[in-house]
């Protein structure tokens, strides 16, 4: 399943890059792109585990940029 999420308070481009790398490393994620310009996360991941994966992704984002939240 492919979904697009808006990211709030993503203020740093380098963080966006790091988030993208971190989310891509999550098990079950097929591909993920974090666009700093459009402030969006596009993620393709395993259907069955999607919610669980998104939780992990949100946690990764928080780790890298504490103020940034994924709007689900």
């Amino acid at each position: 399943m492919k979904k697009v999420f808006k990211l709030e308070d993503l203020d740093c481009a380098n963080c966006a890059k790091k988030m993208e790398n971190a989310i891509n490393k999550i098990d079950g994620v097929e591909s993920a792109t974090v666009s700093f310009i459009s402030q969006k996360l596009t993620i393709t991941a395993d259907d069955a585990r999607f919610d669980e994966i998104m939780k992990k992704a949100a946690a990764e984002c928080k780790k890298i940029e504490p103020d940034c939240t994924i709007i689900m």
């Binding site: 740093c12 380098n14 792109t33 596009t42 928080k62």
Partner: protein
């Protein structure tokens, strides 16, 4: 400015005023109040930098060491530790000013790019039960509903006009500024602006499937396809930051150990290293440059599916064209009338009358060329001879109209071939040869200019592929000044041809294939870049191609390459500029010439300049 940015501005002003006051106070009085001086400077420092400190602490908890907040915190606390209170505060202040600039520049560019692609309709007008027009969300309109579009409104959904005539402005989609006339029965696509009359449209596609949605989706998704430069920067960033941090550590401790110099001086120099260690300028500006290039191109009706394709377009070396529908109009037209005996108009009239009952494209083009209503009372005994032509009696005379085979079987001995390429319709009246009419596919307007444009853009070779016969191909290639042509190709041969051209081309140059996207999907995918033309409404073409031209103007191809070239050169400028300034500051910092201020400039200042430079890619000159 957003609320957040305004708040930041207030913090900057407050802490700036306090800092200046304190600097003047300590400068004038030279007061030595020990720990109190530190406390006084901590006030503006905390006002301006509390969020950075907080992020730095959270970063440490999450084991994220090399982020900017952490580095700024280490650098400014380092300055405080060496007794440079004013400088530590000032650097934090300067950093925040830079960040604010950067954030404003990014939001401004984000806004102007999205304005550029402002084709999303806000509402659709439909009639309620009482016949009154109400505005609804375009997403709620179902297929088959009738919508009303008033003058000045955007067409919200694709459909067929059931009543009204008007001129529509398609410039938001195609970049074409001349309005297009539409009338009852015609198809209309979403995103056009209705200029004059009221149109009633029967919706044929849901909003999600409409042209506007397709275009927006395509442009938005373009950021998922990373260019080589972006991938390079990603890899580079992974090495760069740790390398600079290690450099900073070495700089702080090795020289004092070796020379026995004072530790503080070297720690300060190391701090400047840390400030420069963020690759932000590159990480922001490169995708932004590609995005603004893509935005600018889409304004001109050129949709590019990703930064990687933009980059490949900039290196175009060979451009391969499909003939029919790409360089030619794909519709048959009478291009020459060669009369041996009778008047030219009379010859055309005779041929048109003879073919009046046929729906063959050639017959249709004859009738179109004649342009008058055919009077069926003048014609009788029509006999169609398959593969040959028509035999009929017109105004009492026996007329033959058809190909050479027909002339031969009917023993018309004077009949002769024509030097023009194309399909010839020979005409004989009462057994006497009258002449022939040449019907061929007309060249598209702008096709020749497109070839010149491509050569000016540095394309080394243009090639044309066609399934038509050799003479037609040759004539077309010659007329347009195309370097090489291959004719009489089957669809599979086209792929082989492209394979061969791919193998021949210089390795750093790319091969572009341009087709109408209808039956050349395999070639479109095989080429380095596939461009589909006139793809408005054709989903298959949008799917298969890497670059989609919304209208079918061949001149858009050199324009696309030009935009790509400009974008690529801005990317290069930004890489060279950002890395150059950083490297220079690193060296000067190590030598103790560049101070922390220069370091902050090398970080955020460079980012801001690179962002502003990136925005240039959006402006497309025609």
């Amino acid at each position: 400015m957003s609320k957040k940015q305004k708040k930041m501005l207030a913090r900057i002003i407050i802490s700036f005023v306090i800092l200046i006051a304190e600097m003047i106070f300590f400068g004038v009085t030279k007061a030595d109040i020990g720990i109190w001086k530190l406390a006084l400077f901590l006030i503006p420092y905390l006002i301006i930098g509390y969020d950075i400190l907080r992020k730095a602490v959270l970063g440490i908890i999450h084991l994220q060491f090399f982020d900017e907040s952490f580095l700024m915190t280490v650098a400014t606390i380092g300055a405080f530790a060496t007794g440079e209170y004013a400088e530590g505060t000032a650097v934090m202040l300067f950093y925040q000013v830079g960040e604010l600039f950067q954030s404003c520049a990014v939001s401004k560019s984000r806004k102007s790019i999205s304005e550029l692609m402002d084709i999303r309709p806000d509402y659709a007008n439909i009639e309620d039960e009482n016949g009154k027009l109400i505005q609804v969300d375009p997403e709620e309109v179902e297929i088959g509903s009738v919508i009303t579009v008033k003058a000045g409104e955007k067409v919200p959904l694709d459909g067929v006009i059931i009543s009204g005539t008007s001129a529509v402005d398609t410039s938001a989609l195609t970049g074409e500024s001349i309005p297009r006339d539409v009338c009852e029965g015609g198809e209309i696509i979403s995103g056009c602006v209705n200029l004059t009359g009221i149109l009633k449209i029967r919706v044929t596609k849901e909003f999600g499937q409409s042209t506007v949605s397709k275009i927006l989706e395509l442009v938005e998704n373009s950021q998922e396809k990373k260019s080589k430069s972006e991938n390079f920067i990603s890899k580079f960033a992974r090495i760069y930051t740790p390398a600079v941090v290690i450099g900073a550590l070495l700089l702080a401790f090795i020289p004092p150990l070796l020379t026995g110099g004072e530790l503080g001086k070297w720690v300060y120099r190391a701090m400047t290293f840390l400030v420069i260690s963020c690759p932000c300028a590159l990480v922001i500006s490169i995708p932004l440059t590609f995005f603004s290039g893509i935005g600018g191109a889409s304004k001109a009706g050129i949709l590019i599916k990703g930064g990687n394709y933009l980059e490949a377009l900039a290196n175009a070396g060979v451009v391969v064209f499909d003939k029919t529908g790409t360089l030619t109009k794909g519709s048959f037209e009478v291009t020459a009338v060669h009369s041996d005996k009778m008047d030219k108009d009379a010859l055309l009239e005779t041929a048109a009358l003879a073919e009046m009952y046929s729906d063959h494209p050639i017959s249709l083009s004859l009738k179109r060329a004649w342009g008058k209503e055919c009077d069926s009372s003048r014609i009788e005994n029509v006999k169609e001879i398959a593969g040959h032509g028509v035999k009929a009696v017109i105004d009492g005379k026996i007329v033959l109209a058809g190909n050479m085979k027909l002339m031969k079987t009917e023993n018309i001995s004077e009949a002769h071939d024509c030097h023009h390429a194309g399909t010839a319709v020979h005409v004989a009246v009462n057994g006497e040869y009258m002449g022939h009419i040449i019907i061929s596919d007309a060249l598209k307007e702008g096709a020749k200019e497109a070839m010149e444009g491509l050569r000016n853009m540095g394309v080394r070779k243009t090639v044309m592929l066609t399934g038509d016969d050799r003479r037609v191909g040759e004539q077309c290639a010659k007329a347009l000044g195309i370097d090489e042509y291959h004719a009489e190709l089957l669809p599979a041969d086209k792929v082989d041809c492209v394979e061969k051209l791919l193998a021949e081309k210089p390795p750093k140059k790319t091969l572009i294939f341009v087709g109408d996207g209808i039956n050349d999907a395999p070639v479109l995918t095989r080429a380095d870049i596939g461009i589909a033309m006139g793809a408005m409404g054709s989903d298959a073409a949008i799917e298969a191609a890497d670059v989609v031209l919304l209208d079918d103007d061949p001149r858009k191809i050199p324009l696309a390459i030009k935009i790509a070239g400009k974008t690529a050169s801005i990317v290069r400028q930004n890489i060279v500029f950002a890395l150059g300034v950083k490297l220079l500051t690193l060296i000067l910092g190590a030598l103790g010439i560049a101070n922390m201020w220069a370091a902050v400039f090398a970080d955020v200042g460079v980012s801001v300049i690179a962002i502003l430079n990136a925005m240039r890619a959006m402006r497309v000159k025609r």
